[in-house]
Amino acid sequence: MLYREAGDFKTTYVADNQTFPLKLDRIGFWVTMAVAWLVIPFVINDYWASSLLVPFLIYAIAAIGLNILTGYCGQVSLGTGGFMAVGAYACYKLMTSFPDVNIMIHIVLAGGITAMVGAAFGLPSLRIKGFYLAVATLAAQFFLVWLFNKVSWFYNYSASGQISAPERLVAGVAVTGPSTPAWAQYLICLFFVTVCAIIARNLTRGTLGRSWMAIRDMDIAAEIIGVNPLKAKLTAFAVSSFFVGIAGALFFAVYLGAVEVGEAFGIQKSFLVLFMIIIGGLGSIFGSFAGAAFLVLLPVALKWIGVDVMGWPTDLVAHFQLVIVGALIMFFLIKEPHGLAQLWRLAKEKLRLWPFPH
C-alpha cells in the first residue's frame, strides 16, 4: 500500500536504469546516507566504533569484493584472507616507504596492488572451475600467508614479525595509530564503503556486470554470443581483489593498528567473508552489507544477551556463541538459500500488497 511502483513511470532509459527506481527506495537511501554521514559521527564512541561499526564497514567492503567474484561471476574463492593480507602489507610498505604521501592514496594503491595479485591468481580460473578453482584459491591463501611470514622484508625486519601502523593524518586528524578518535576511524571507513559500493553497483548494472553474470550462468553460451571469458574472469578477479585489498588495508591500518598475518588474515577470515555473502545473498550489493552486518552483529548481540541479560559466565557464552552462529547459518541456508537479500525482496513484495494481501 505504502510501498509500491504503481504510478512511478519512467520516460527515459537513464531514469529506468537508476539504482533505486522507486521513489521510496531513493528516500530511504538518502536518509540512510544522511544518518551515516551527519548523525553517527557526532554520537559515536569507542565501543560502538571498535566492536560494531568499523568492522561492519570494513567487512562490507570485503564482502562486496568477494560477491563480485563469487556472486556475480560465479568463481568460488577461498583466498579472501590472503588477498586482505596483500592489501594490508602493501599499505604498510607504502606507509613506511613514503611517509609523506597521504594515507588515502596508499589505501587506494594497496587496492591496486591487490588487484594485480588477484588477477595473477585468477589465471587458473581460465582452465578450472567450481571446487577445483576453490582449491586453487585456497593455495593462494596459504601461500600468501606463508610469504608474509617468511620474507622479513614485508614486515621491515621487525623482531616480532608483526606490522604496526604508524600515525598518519588526514586533514589534520589522525586516522591511524593509537591516538585516532573513533569518529575519524568511522568516517574514513565510511568514505571507502560509500565509494566502493557505488563503483560496484555501477559495474554490476552495466556491461561488465552482465558479462560476469553471463559467465556465471552459462559460460559456454556466453562465449558463443560474444563475451570474452578471459577478460570477464580476470576483470572479476581484479575488481574483486581491489575491494578486498582496500578492506585489508583498512582492517590493518585503521581498525587493528598492529597485525600478525596468520592471526588476522588466516583461512578463518576467508570463510567468514564467504559466509557473509552466502548469508547476505550472492549477487547482491545489498546482500553484502546485510551479511556483514549479520555476522558482525550476531556475536555481539549473543554476548550481550548471554552475559549482560542472562548473567551467564563469559566463557560459557563464548562457546555457545560458536554453536549458535553455526546453527543459524545452517538454518538460513535451509530456509532461504538466497540469503537476506532475497528475504528483503520478498518482504518488499509483501509490502506492496499490505494490508490487503489479495
Binding site: Y13, V14, N17, I199, N202, L203, G206, T207, L208, R210, S211, M213, A214, R216, D217, M218, I220, A221, A222, E223, I224, I225, G226, V227, N228, P229, T235, V239, G283
Partner: protein, 276 residues
Amino acid sequence: MNEAVMDKNAPYVTEDGRQIGGVMMDLRDITLRFGGVEAIKAISFDIREGEIRAIIGPNGAGKSSMLNVISGFYKPQEGEVYFRGQKRPPMKPYQVARQGVARTFQNIALFQGMSVLDNVMTGRMGHIKSNMLAQAIWAGKAQREENENREAVERIIDFLEIQAIRKTPVGRLPYGLKKRVELARALAAEPDLLLLDEPMAGMNVEEKEDMSRFILDVNDEFGTTIALIEHDMGVVMDLSDRVVVMDYGRKIGDGTPDEVRNNQEVIDAYLGVAHD
C-alpha cells in the same frame, strides 16, 4: 533459363521478392572428429547472403556439430571456413560472434539469473567500446553507450513482442517465450548471419507459426542471413530457400526444397531402405 540464372553464384530475386546475394559463408571439405568418431565427413556447402538455409537430417547426423563449427566452438580437423570471401583463421567463439555471427541453442542457453532485458543486452557485447573505468563512474561514454544499446535492444524487444516480460527473470518464463528471448538475444547483436539450432523444438502448432513468422520477418526486415536446423519438415520446406541434408556426418542432398524432396538418397535416409 538464361546464362545468369545458370551461374549458381549470381545474385537473384526470390519468388516473394527477397534479394539473394553472393556467397557469405563457404564451408569447404569440413571434417570433424571426436577421437575415433567422425562426426562430419568432408562436407562442403555455402550460405548465401540474404537466404534462409536449412540443415536437416536424422538424429546424430552431425547438424549441431556443423553449427558449432560455423560458430567457432568446434575446430574442424580438416577443411576451411570462408567468411565473406576470406579464409577464417583459427578463432575463439567470441571473436566469431564479433564478426557478425550470432546463434541460438538447441537446449535453451539463457542466463537464468538475469532478467529478460539483461539477457538481451548481453547480446550487445560486441558493440561495447567504453572501458572499465568509465563504466565504474557511470558517466559520459559508458552511459551514452548503455542508452544506445538499450534503444537497440528495445527495438528488438518491440519486434519480437516481448515488452511485457522485459524485467522478468528468465527462469520464470514458459518454454516458448524463453525460445523467443533467446532469439532476441541473438538478434540484439545485429548479426549478418544468424544460426538457429532447432528454433521450434518442443513447440505446439501455434507457437511454431509465431516463430516461423518471426524468422521470416527477421530475414525480410533486417536482411539477416539465416541458417537453421529443424526437424519439422513442413516448416523447413516452407521457410527455406535451400536445404542441406546430412546423414551420418555425410552430405546426402543439397538444393531447393523441391529438389531435396525428390532426392532418392534423402528419401531413403528418412524413410529407411529395405536391407536384403
